[in-house]
């Protein structure tokens, strides 16, 4: 009884917090709609997104809500299925980057010493590398399956998270509760995993949400360059296909690109909203 009451007050507090930060509210609403559309794509889609037919480059009409592309595929249905690809790639890639970054940053900040200086230098180096180009080369060399794209984006973007986690670990290390853990003989690795990381994870979650946006953009960029996974429906590929029909079929690139903007925007707003809660100094709503 008490516990459920507790839960409700917590939920209420969370909701009021979400309501206070405008970006977060808009982002969550937008994302919910997009996720629902992606989940129920088979029910909502009016056509099979892969099936070709003779109505090539048809403008938006009652039958084809957003028109058809150069091979007669329905754009509306394609966008619905493409949402799945984008969200999966974004979330998985950003999670890989989040996990790797948290572990490396946590170890570096918490253990300090030589490990820390080496890791910091690695982070510095990574920050100055043309990451998109590196991703592009790796995908071009090793093939552009969805799995490859996700892993490569994940392992080339962890440095931002590592920097955040390192800073968190450095400050948490000085706190009394961590020092007392040390005194009662808790092992270092346990302290790191059980106390430092959970207590310092929030900025990384906010950053990971932003990274989902980045990953979706990177994937669409790769697809636009013809380096997307040919076996899945992807918005970047749709924009790429529409490029050759720009003058007689503007709807192909326009709508699929707009879908990218909206989805990226949703994750972006949520991430930024979380950051605003973290550093209220910059919050505009107060």
């Amino acid at each position: 009884m008490n516990k459920s009451g507790d839960f409700f007050t917590k939920m209420k507090r969370m909701l009021s917090m979400i309501n206070q930060v405008r970006q977060l509210k808009i982002g969550i609403i937008l994302l919910t709609i997009i996720i629902l559309l992606a989940l129920f794509a088979p029910l909502i889609a009016t056509h099979d997104p892969f099936s070709l037919n003779d109505d090539m480059v048809n403008p938006p009409s009652k039958n084809y809500l957003l028109g058809t592309d150069g091979l007669g595929r329905d754009i509306f249905s394609g966008i619905l299925y493409g949402a799945r690809t984008s969200i999966v790639i974004g979330v998985v890639a950003a999670s890989i980057s989040g996990i790797v970054g948290t572990l490396i940053g946590g170890i570096s900040g918490f253990y300090g010493g030589k490990i820390d200086s080496v890791v910091s230098e690695i982070i510095n180096v990574f920050l100055m590398m043309p990451t998109f180009f590196l991703i592009l080369i790796i995908v071009a060399l090793f093939g552009s399956s969805m799995f490859n794209v996700m892993v490569v984006i994940g392992i080339t973007t962890w440095t931002g998270n590592a920097r955040l986690m390192r800073a968190q670990a450095l400050s948490l290390k000085q706190r009394t509760f961590v020092k007392s853990l040390e005194n009662i003989g808790e092992s270092k690795i346990k302290t790191l995993i059980k106390h430092i990381i959970p207590n310092g994870i929030f900025p990384i979650i906010a950053n990971t949400t932003m990274n989902i946006s980045e990953a979706i953009l990177t994937e669409s960029g790769l697809s636009f360059l013809g380096l997307g996974d040919p076996n899945v429906m992807s918005w970047g590929q749709m924009v790429y296909n529409g490029k050759s029909y720009l003058t007689n079929g503007w709807w192909i690139s326009t709508f699929s690109g707009a879908a990218i903007v909206l989805t990226v925007l949703a994750f972006y707003l949520i991430g930024d909203g979380m950051n605003n809660i973290l550093s209220p100094k910059l919050n505009d709503n107060k």
């Binding site: 043309p130 990451t131 592009l136 946006s213 960029g221 360059l225 720009l246 990226v264």
Partner: protein, 321 residues
Amino acid sequence: MARYLRRRILTGILIILVSLVINFMLIHLAPGNPISLLAGKDNPSQEMIDALTEKYGLNDPIHIQFISYVKTLLKGDLGYSIMSSEPVSKLIFEKVGPTLLLALTSILLAVVIGTASGIFAARKRGSLFDVTMNGLSYVFDSTPSFWLGLMLILIFASKLKIFPTAGMVDLRAQHEGIAKAVDILWHLTLPLITVTLIQIPYYFRIARASVIQTMSEDFITTFRAAGMKENKIFKKYIFKNAILPTITVFGINLAYVISGVAIIEIVFAWPGMGRLMMTAISKRDYPLLMGIYLILSVSIAVCMIVVDLIYAVIDPRIRYD
């Protein structure tokens, strides 16, 4: 200062070294074996394979191979392009001009416009301008650059027919001198607008945040309490402090822009390194790709060090660290 300088240069060298190692690793891990390619398909004899492996030093331990690879690079030899059998360095050198023109002009524009509007928005916090700019900055941050480029082509080139759709010069007209410059500028407009619009939010947000941050510092409150004029506080104290983060961001952004411009070049058929990269990808021209990557990494490392040095000159807190 000397110590700081030495440290930054060391980091720069490290970056170049890491790029070399990554490059080398990629060449070695990439699918496909150069020897089987050289030996041909018609039942190459084992002796021939051995001889070729020996000749190209592929039997040597990996670190010796790496050293000889670096030695070749130091001579300025980036290898030969597979598709045109011309030296990679020559191909890249021919294309570097248009890319730099597009990238550097857009960075300058974005820094000026973004920073100015960011400062202005921060001073008029909550105003219509601030709110609109904030909203716009989110939207442009979420927009894929290639799509923005396509939309600009659709509106300004296909429908309104104001600007050309693609290329760098009008091939039918043989312009010389000033006419040529105007022609290039004409073709540059749309790609330039695209790259600039994509970058503005970045500088806008940094400038806005750092002005707001500085304005809430205690020493500013003290000045205000002492009755110092708002304009004077801003000019003398806020502006200087707020502009500093922009310089750091500028350095980091440089890396992003130079590789980000590539994709825009493809949209607008701008004859720069992006186009070269695209053909290299579609033809699987690995030496050319590696060469582009290497040149990019090295130039970015150099730019970053220069930016850091400028920063150290401007902000004494850095150099006495």
